[in-house]
């Protein structure tokens, strides 16, 4: 479980500037807006909190306040620290901390986009998930979507009365749109965002005068065979060399957070499946951990084991997929991916037998899991983790690792140093391939990971090749955990032991307060920041998505390389758009 700390020393040093957050269920400090930069700098330089995990905003409408919440950790491990800045709701302005924690870059832009909090001093404060010109900031509590029905579910028309209607019939346009009063579409300037963007990229890439080559701006995506979904990059080239890169996202922005705040607590579990849709189980894990912290429930032994087993299987699925498609990006079109998907299907069979669905498992519950693993699926699972998968991982390793083609395309490409990796708040395999042995399963253990014997995989060059190797390493470590888990579960909590604490319930009671649940998802740190007011719906539901934050480092990795390498580097970060755009 994530624990958060207070540092007495810092309280005296910043006396008068920071106050402990004394609201019931809250932790950490509230910092005066004008001193947040000094405070952050001190935390980073003098106290070792060099890793900004999450930055987000909360709209406290009744109090008329906007709050920015920062979670910082030490890259050497241990519990973290949370601090907040409160500003008035009418004109929320907070100093930007991008130059202290570069990893805040996209997260601040997101808070501006969705909540309208202005970060003063941010180098590029534009909308990130929505487009310039969008009407309003949708995560504000008084903003209503076109299909608005009620503040929170269950909607009274649907339950218990069961009157279903089509939103389309009620909307004057028959589709999901609404426009501000007095708006005239004929005078609307069709958006020039693209040109502005191209200009901005040109300006930001530093001018080299010695060789006056013409600079070219190339657009990749959002429909591009190798962007892993609807991701778009605008690349500035000097000849073939990249001198600037601007990721553009939001093409799959599905409003998880707004919908999540209308949903009841339990309704959000299936939505988390659809964040990173390759690793549904790991997403469930993060969310239930965050809510369980608030509720104060602990799952029974057997459920803990099942959770770990499922989460580690998910990691293998993800890494197989990532390697298969990295090779795809390198030009080995689909053959390695076929090998990878073959194994994935076998794991999905186990998931399907257990949860009823191949991908969208909706399996974890607050205080346990939904059902036990059926016996025949269990036998298959044991056979997989003890026999087949280890062989297949070795096979993949044998085919790929020493391939000259792969080595020549990946070694030394897309290097990210350890310092940069920490500064950009990257996590997961990207961080560990740069030589930072930071794995939340060890650094800030949750669930029952402290019982297993495994190594934190780490590689030191920080290039694409290492990011590939580390995934092979991690699969091996996951298999180690799995082999121990399938043995231990038989002894500690054999079949028939409870898998859910308490009775299954549709409407859970979540006491007021905040909580941040973080897990080591296959792609990196997956965090859920939830705020409860004691109502059936979360007040705030924020997802700190590893793919999204890892992309902050993309430009730094790509600069100086050739255009053909961009695709490889992107493939080695392993993003999933469902999670980037949410």
């Amino acid at each position: 479980m994530t624990t958060l700390v207070t540092v007495p020393d810092i309280e005296t040093r910043f006396a008068g500037v920071i106050t402990p957050d004394t609201r019931k269920g809250y932790q950490g400090y509230i910092v005066e807006a004008e001193h947040v930069r000094a405070f952050a700098k001190a935390l980073r330089d003098d106290y070792g909190y060099d890793y900004l995990a999450s930055l987000t905003g909360v709209d406290y409408l009744p109090e008329g306040k906007m709050e920015v919440v920062y979670h910082v950790y030490k890259s050497t491990g241990g519990p973290g620290l949370v601090f907040k800045v409160q500003v008035p709701r009418e004109n929320p302005v907070v100093p930007s901390i991008v130059d202290i924690y570069p990893g805040a870059n996209f997260q601040e832009r997101e808070a501006w986009d969705l909540l309208g909090i202005r970060f003063e001093g941010h180098p590029n404060l534009r909308r990130i998930l929505l487009w310039e010109g969008f009407w309003g900031h949708p995560l504000r509590k008084d903003w209503r979507e076109p299909y608005f029905e009620e503040e929170g579910k269950p909607f009274s028309s649907r339950w218990p009365h069961g009157k279903h209607f089509h939103h389309e019939d009620k909307n004057p346009f028959g589709k999901n749109v609404d426009y501000p009063p007095g708006f005239d579409p004929y005078t609307w300037e069709p958006d020039t965002a693209d040109e502005i963007l191209y200009q901005a990229v040109l300006q930001r890439s530093e001018i080299r005068d010695d060789l006056r080559t013409e600079r070219v701006v190339v657009n990749l995506g959002p429909q591009h065979p190798s962007t892993h979904g609807v991701f778009r990059m605008i690349v500035t080239l000097d000849g073939e060399t990249i001198i600037g890169l601007e990721p553009v996202m939001g093409y799959l922005h599905r409003n998880h957070e707004k919908i999540g705040e209308r949903n009841t607590w339990i309704m959000n579990i299936p939505y988390t499946d659809r964040l990173d849709y390759i690793t549904a189980m790991a997403n469930n894990f993060g969310y239930v951990l965050a809510v369980e912290q608030l509720m104060g429930v602990k799952p029974p032994e057997r459920a803990e084991y099942i959770r770990v087993i499922m989460a580690e299987l998910t990691r293998i699925v993800n890494h197989l997929w990532a390697i298969g498609f990295l090779l795809n990006d390198l030009g080995a079109f689909f053959t390695p991916a076929l090998y990878a998907i073959e194994e994935r299907e076998l794991i999905l069979d186990v998931f399907e037998a257990t949860t009823g669905s191949r991908m969208m498992n909706n399996y974890f519950r607050f205080g346990g899991v939904a059902r036990d693993i059926p016996e025949d699926a269990w036998d298959k699972l044991v056979q997989l983790v003890t026999d087949r998968l280890p062989r297949k991982v070795d096979e993949l390793d044998r085919y790929l690792t020493n391939s000259e083609l792969i080595q020549s395309r990946t070694i030394g490409v897309g290097v990210l140093t350890a310092e940069e990796a920490i500064a950009y708040s990257t996590s997961g395999p990207v961080l560990r391939a740069s030589g930072v042995p930071y794995d939340i399963r060890r650094a800030d253990p949750y669930s029952i990971y402290d019982r297993f014997d495994f190594d934190v995989a780490v590689r030191y060059h920080g290039d694409v090749y290492d990011r590939y190797l580390i995934r092979i390493d991690e699969m091996r470590q996951s298999l180690r955990i799995l082999q121990q888990a399938v043995k231990q579960i038989e002894q500690e909590a054999p079949r028939g032991a409870p898998i859910l604490a308490g009775k299954p319930q549709y409407q859970v009671r979540v006491p007021p307060g905040e909580s941040y649940g973080r897990v080591e998802a296959p792609k990196g740190e997956l965090g859920f920041y939830v705020v409860s007011t004691g109502k059936p719906n979360p007040w705030r539901y924020h997802v700190r998505a590893p793919s999204f934050v890892n992309l902050t480092a993309l430009e730094a990795m790509c600069r100086g390389h050739k255009i053909a390498d961009v695709v490889t580097i992107l493939g080695s970060i392993d993003i999933v758009l469902g999670e980037v755009d949410r």
């Binding site: 929505l130 487009w131 010109g133 969008f134 009407w135 949708p138 979507e145 076109p146 299909y147 608005f148 029905e149 939103h167 389309e168 004057p172 346009f173 028959g174 589709k175 999901n176 749109v177 426009y179 501000p180 009063p181 007095g182 708006f183 005239d184 579409p185 004929y186 609307w188 069709p190 958006d191 959002p222 429909q223 591009h224 065979p225 979904g229 609807v230 939001g250 093409y251 799959l252 922005h253 599905r254 409003n255 707004k258 919908i259 209308r262 299936p270 659809r274 849709y277 390759i278 689909f334 991916a337 076929l338 998907i341 073959e342 994935r344 299907e345 191949r358 991908m359 758009l577 469902g578």
Partner: protein, 221 residues
């Protein structure tokens, strides 16, 4: 020629009512141009290689070895709309993406087909109420086959594609050739997504809203 094979019976492929010389038997197939043409078309549908969301993962799984889309002649995924016959809209369509989807659709050559894969593409799915989600791609472009599911299993996708094959089978050559290129205006990103065909309606609506607001202001002020 009394013995009729299963092949002869195949959808009304009848034995002609006259004698066929022995040396020609088994060497000549009589069919209509329509059927021949459609037989070729339905067995070589090239999908556009483009995935939107979670459903795309199942689409990839369908193309992989266990389900093997190649059995249907559909494994040739083309990244360019110019070479594609069918657009599998595999995932949530967002307002930000719909102008590009319409553009891709316009760029596909005739005859073209659209398959809405999954709940999201068919009608908004779990994200229907979202402010950035288009509740069904058919609000903007015509759809031939809807596949339910979230995500549809690979089997369901295959079934949907077989339905598309059946549809192609039934089309007549004449209709396919005389089909008019229909250009769908690209939606524009304004304060919300705007369909250019809706402009008059939008203005009417926003002006009414403004008047209502001013009316209220006059009453309370």
């Amino acid at each position: 020629m009394t013995q009729r094979t299963g092949r002869d019976r195949y959808e009304g492929l009848q034995v002609p009512g006259y004698d066929i010389p022995d040396e020609v038997k088994g060497n000549v197939i009589v069919t209509t141009l329509n059927r021949l043409y459609n037989w070729g078309r339905r067995n070589s549908i090239w999908p556009m290689m483009f995935g939107l969301a979670c459903c795309a993962i199942e689409m990839i799984a369908t193309a992989a070895s266990r389900y093997d889309l190649a059995r249907f002649g559909m494994e040739v995924m083309r990244p360019s709309p110019r070479q594609a016959d069918v657009m599998i809209v595999s995932g949530t369509v967002t307002k930000r993406m719909i102008p590009l989807i319409v553009r891709l659709y316009n760029q596909m050559p005739l005859p073209k087909y659209v398959v809405a894969m999954g709940a999201c593409a068919s009608g908004g799915g779990p994200f229907k109420e979202g402010y950035n989600v288009v509740s069904g791609v058919d609000k903007y472009i015509p759809v031939d086959v809807y596949i339910p599911g979230c995500p549809p299993t690979p089997e369901a996708l295959l079934f949907g594609l077989m339905k598309l094959q059946q549809k192609i089978e039934k089309q007549s050559l004449k209709d396919v050739y005389l089909q008019k290129e229909e250009y769908i205006p690209e939606p524009i990103l304004g304060p919300d997504i705007m369909d250019p065909r809706d402009f008059p309606l939008i203005r009417e609506y926003t002006m009414k809203k403004l008047q209502e607001m001013q009316g209220q202001g006059a009453v309370s002020g």
